[in-house]
């Protein structure tokens, strides 16, 4: 009796290759035939192997997690970076300035240490010292009143700090001008409170934008997309099993009565499954540990991640099948191409760069990492799902192209040397 308590006819039969007649049930057989499909057998096996390949799983999983953590750490400041540090300026203390009491007061108010502090002001009497401070970057700019009562702002750079200085001073003069004009036109305004409006800040626009992307979340999207394409490593693993010059096991497979395509299909599927599970883990990490708000549309995110994982696995399949180089080179190609794609998806650099690149060379937005990233982004910022579906379908088309190209290469391969 074997383990399962069935009486195996086989044990009784002669070991010398007597073919069991499977169509005729023998009287003493209770054997229920448990045939296993080849696909299922290979698939189960490869899944087993992959799950036990600790280092492969670990490194493909850990890398996107670390990257996402880096993003969070590095960029969590951005939202609060709106609270600028006060701009360091110097004001030349001269007679002309004293004549403009209002301006002096305004600057003084803006320099008081409170939460609305705009300037950190140093009052100096001579211009030379101010020039020195400017040169040494101790200040972003200095203000000097000329004899005509006009203010000059001297700066070195042309950036945000300087823009703020200009804005404030402009605002002062413009408001003063407006006040003068309005009082001249209708002195009543002083009494009926209209003039007060000059001091208020009112919003005259209604923001209809809907969701605007949190800076950091965009990088998460690129991280997820990159991780998807990195799944190409699993595609490469699948090819290893069938290409005799990549692994010795594949030589065994070549002499076995198994169709190569079936082998590939089973191995690729196993890789794809593992890859998708890893992406799910990554998503969970970003949402629950890093508290990134990816979207409210959970099913669509899962769907796009599925398509993305598939794109990555088939991409690896293509790289593995399309040439006869050794494993190191193939992995290198995968990494290099993923890197380029991630660049075009906006991972390396300020987001503006991505858009400028796309305007320069429109075709780059069709690389798989960009497609996936944009798909996530569309989910977030669009009200309808049109753009999302456009990206999703593009990703699927990419996968189909990869499969088609791989098929062309799969034609019986014999080698000149193993």
């Amino acid at each position: 009796m074997d383990k399962r308590g069935r009486f195996c006819f086989v044990q009784v039969a002669n070991l010398k290759n007597i073919k069991m007649d499977k169509t005729e049930p023998s009287p003493f057989v209770q054997v229920r035939e448990r045939k296993e499909s080849m696909l299922g057998h290979v698939l189960k096996n490869k899944l087993n192997v992959l799950l036990r390949s600790k280092s492969l799983i670990f490194w493909t999983l850990i890398f996107p997690i670390i990257m996402s953590t880096f993003f969070k750490l590095a960029l969590s400041n951005i939202a609060t970076a709106e609270e600028f540090d006060p701009v360091k300026i110097a004001v030349i203390q001269n007679v002309a300035l004293d004549n403009e009491q209002n301006l002096k007061t305004v600057i003084g108010e803006l320099s008081t240490e409170n939460e609305n502090q705009v300037f950190e002001t140093t009052y100096i009497d001579n211009e030379e010292k101010a020039k020195e401070m400017l040169k040494n970057d101790d200040i972003s700019g200095y203000i000097i009143m000329d004899e005509n009562g006009k203010a000059d702002v001297r700066v070195k750079d042309n950036g945000i700090q300087q823009t703020i200085i200009k804005y404030v001073i402009d605002e002062y003069y413009q408001t003063a001008s407006a006040a003068t004009q309005i009082i001249n036109f209708n002195p009543q305004v002083i009494y009926d409170g209209t003039i007060q409006l000059l001091e208020e800040s009112k919003e005259y626009v209604k923001d209809k934008t809907g969701n605007n992307l949190d800076y950091c979340v965009n990088y998460y999207y690129t991280a997820i997309a990159m991780a998807c394409i990195y799944g190409g490593l699993f595609g490469l693993e699948a090819v290893k099993e069938t290409e005799a010059n990549l692994s010795k096991r594949a030589a065994r497979v070549s002499v076995a009565p198994v169709h190569k395509l079936k082998m590939l299909f089973a191995n690729v599927t196993a890789g794809f499954i593992i890859q998708y599970i890893e992406i799910l883990i990554l998503l969970a990490y970003i949402v629950f540990v890093l508290k990134g708000n990816l979207t409210n549309n959970v099913p669509w995110i899962l769907l796009l991640s599925l398509a993305g994982s598939f794109a990555g696995t088939t991409f690896g399949l293509f790289i593995g099948i399309s040439n006869k180089k050794d494993e190191n080179t193939k992995v290198g190609m995968l990494i290099a191409i993923t890197m380029v794609c991630s660049f075009f998806a906006g991972m390396m650099g300020a987001p503006q760069m991505k858009y400028q690149m796309e305007k320069l060379i429109p075709v780059v937005k069709y690389n798989p990492v960009s497609l996936i990233t944009d798909g996530f982004h569309a989910l977030y910022s669009y009200i309808t799902l049109d753009m999302y579906f456009e990206k999703l379908i593009s990703v699927i088309i990419f996968s189909i192209i990869m499969i088609a190209l791989s098929y062309i290469f799969i034609r019986r391969k014999k080698y000149d040397s193993i």
């Binding site: 010795k248 096991r249 009565p257 000149d416």
Partner: protein, 313 residues
């Protein structure tokens, strides 16, 4: 006798280097066929060409009377291969490995389970079923490699140098296992550069060197084919140099060599060489401690045919 393998004029080059040069051979069903040759002579290349893994320029190869193509699943199902390199999954246990590879041939689970157990028993791996390849010694690893290749009870088995770098115990186990497989009806093609194994196992042998067939036949035929008939080794107690010269002049002596006080004398074919030598010693009052005679080995065959030794080439 039915010819299970027929090769004619097989030629294969790696670039400018000719690995196989018009090689022809055949293997009969039910036999253990040995492909013997030094390192780099083209043994593995031959096997790989036979299995349709390598391209070749010229020649015909027939297995089971048909040409082997990648789609010949019916033929492939009857073949088992044990490659020179160990080809198993590091992540799976011994049992799982054998089960996987057997599963590429045997779909029925019950049959497969049985076969796997048989393979484990045949290769003596019962105690190691749950071990991973990393935990196995070189010899055990080779046994696993073999088990994976033969578990599905193929009719034709190729073994490409299965005992390289294997401890003697494992080697014996492997050789016994191969004999067992043959007894159960499998035809075996065995390549190696160890002549002792060929001597032990093979019915028919082909010796190759530099891609060319040097000799073919059974052990006896091969040994008969060379001029050497016998080799006598005699260990003298003294004065070997002097005796050497005398011995060289004896009848039927092809060659005589000396190492310290021992003489190695090679004789042509003939009768009673040993007796005659003993008489000669007696007549000349030459004292000796040991004397024995042996028939030529395959190494001698090879040596005579090519002028080289089989091993350490």
């Amino acid at each position: 006798m039915e010819k299970i393998i027929e090769v004619e004029n097989l030629t294969k080059s790696y670039g400018k280097f000719k690995a196989l040069d018009n090689l022809s051979l055949y293997v009969e069903k039910g036999r253990i066929f040995g492909l013997l040759g030094p390192n780099g002579s083209g043994k593995s290349t031959t096997i790989n060409c036979l299995l349709s893994l390598l391209n070749y320029e010229k020649g015909t190869i027939k297995l089971f009377g048909k040409e082997l193509t990648p789609e010949s699943y019916d033929i492939k199902a009857k073949i088992g291969v044990v490659f020179q390199d160990v080809a198993v999954f590091e992540e799976l246990t011994v049992y799982e490995n054998i089960n996987y590879f057997c599963g590429l041939y045997i779909k029925d689970k019950a049959t497969r389970e049985k076969y796997v157990e048989d393979a484990i028993k045949l290769t003596g791996l019962e105690e190691f079923k749950k071990f991973r390849p990393k935990q196995l010694s070189g010899g055990l690893l080779r046994r696993l490699n073999i088990a994976c290749g033969i578990a599905h009870k193929p009719e034709l088995i190729f073994l490409d140098e299965p005992t390289v770098a294997v401890d003697p115990q494992s080697r014996n186990a492997i050789l016994e296992g191969i004999k067992e497989l043959n007894k159960n009806g499998a035809t075996i093609v065995y390549t190696t550069h160890y002549m002792e194994e060929v001597e032990q196992l093979c019915n028919r042998i082909v010796i190759i060197d530099k891609g060319k067939m040097i000799a073919a036949g059974t052990k006896e035929e091969l040994k008969q084919s060379i001029s050497m008939g016998e080799k006598i080794t005699i260990e003298l107690s003294e004065n070997a140099n002097v005796v050497l010269e005398q011995v060289k002049k004896l009848q039927d002596v092809i060659e005589a060599k000396q190492e310290d006080n021992t003489l190695f004398i090679t004789y042509k074919k003939g009768e009673e060489h040993l007796e005659k030598l003993i008489n000669f010693m007696k007549e000349n009052s030459i004292k000796y401690l040991k004397i024995f005679s042996e028939l030529p080995s395959l190494n001698d065959v090879f040596l005579e045919l090519t002028g080289k030794e089989l091993r350490d080439n």
